[in-house]
Amino acid sequence: MINFQYARATDIADAVRQIAGEPTAKFIAGGTNLIDLMKENIERPSRLIDISRLPLKQIEETGDGGLRIGALVPNSDLAYHALIERRYPLLASAILAGASAQLRNMASTGGNLLQRTRCYYFYDTATPCNKRAPGSGCAARYGLNRMHAILGSSEACIATHPSDMCVALAALEANVHVAGPGGERVIAFADFHRLPGDTPERDTTLRADEIIIAVELPARGFATHYSYLKIRDRLSYAFALVAVAAALELERDTIKEARLALGGVAHKPWRDVAVEKAMRGEPANRASFARAADAILRDARGFEHNAFKIELARRAIVRALTQAAAGTPQSQSVKKIR
């Protein structure tokens, strides 16, 4: 393990002050991704600023019918919270589809948003990687790219964002509350993660001197018609090849509102608002769902080992929307896909 200093933040202002004073420092909360990256010599912070004791562990109802989730709420507490289970079951389901019980007990809400790709080459310091070492090249492009992006990739990077929770947060149009030296601001979830372009070393639009303090859910939770369908190489405790967060509001058999977000296919949770808009007013049937799948995947492009993910995504989208429409969401323990 590398040599680093350790300090605790006493409050949010102190955390922001400490990180501004030492740009090579990093915040640590759950640590479940950062410590791993430090062991692999990918992340080499000069100092860890421990924010895990800050009072950001509440889940509170907001005035407009939504929920405000403190950045330090552990993933397991969030997934099993009564209000999340009842009003945002899509989010609960997505969280339980990710990681293991032990990791969910430690991993924080804010940290989940900031976890880094599990691209093999990002993790292997012996290979080029533009995300880890800007300008060194992308070994994944012509390497083993089974897990990699089919949408929104660039010449520089074909990595995917690994989170399940974030796919649901994207579908639910969450807002990310952050604090920095200039005060607080709110980042819409769609703007929080970014596409790689020619700066894949930047995963998000969070500035180096900012800290996530909360994630806010709007009132609309799609609790009746939703499904989180995750397809992976083993039944549990594996990252997604393709994941689909599907949410519908129906009026009899007509789609009133649709949300569709994909995980495991891009550098960020993938949504296409125009596709969702086009679904409104359509009948909630297989033909409509297939049209939506074709539309959201219209620019999909595979590489040597992951072209199968395009057809896999198409089928997973149709299946997840069908499950959502029927009110029979995918179980995260009984793995049979119906």
Binding site: M1, I2, N3, F4, Q5, Y6, T24, I28, G31, T32, I35, D36, M38, K39, N41, R44, S46, R47, L48, D50, S52, S76, Y80, A99, S100, A101, Q102, L103, N105, M106, L235, S236, Y237, S331, Q332, S333, V334, K335
Partner: protein
């Protein structure tokens, strides 16, 4: 004495960190240690406190062999630093038996022959104790899913699930 300056691979120099005192209650016993910031809870338990029941498998949070209970919740002890857990209560496999009697989960693992080589077993048992306390597993499928963070390369899974079911049923009123 001025702190030592250590050079890092990128040429940056930072002072050697002071070792930090940490208080833990481990298996009910208060323990004081002084550790560098990079010492994981796992290494603190094994190397500093001599509690080698908790195993280091992958050291990357992928296998679950290092599972302990931290303030009653199961976690991977390889994925947290000891300095972050100052003041915490830790239960390892050594702390589960009561008055010379095995914990019901330990006894169930023996009854069901739920291990071969035993390397994953302390982590499996601590994880199962955490699982039962969570109260979220009510079927074989749920036990399997919620134990998926514990890998057994001997493949004793069917017997592990049977052992957990037994322990779970005995704990129910």
């Amino acid at each position: 004495m001025a702190p030592t300056i250590r050079k890092r691979p990128n040429g940056q120099t930072i002072p050697a960190p002071a070792k930090i005192p940490v208080s833990l209650t481990v298996n009910g016993v208060p323990r004081e240690i002084v550790v560098a910031p990079w010492v994981t809870l796992l290494d603190a338990l094994r190397e500093r406190l001599g509690l080698t029941g908790t195993k280091k498998g992958c050291d990357h949070g992928q296998c679950g062999a290092c599972t302990v209970l931290l303030d009653g919740r199961r976690i991977n002890s390889c994925m947290t630093f000891a300095v972050m857990q100052d003041g915490a209560k830790v239960t390892t496999v050594e702390g589960l038996a009561r008055d010379g009697a095995l914990h019901p989960v330990q006894q169930a693992f023996i009854d069901h022959d739920a291990f071969q080589c035993g390397a994953c077993t302390p982590g499996q048992i601590c994880s199962a104790v955490g699982l039962i306390a969570e109260g979220r597993a009510n079927s074989v499928e749920e036990i399997r899913e919620l134990m998926s963070g514990n890998i057994c390369r001997c493949g004793a899974y069917p017997n592990i699930v049977a052992a957990i079911r037994q322990a779970m049923e005995r704990e129910r009123p």
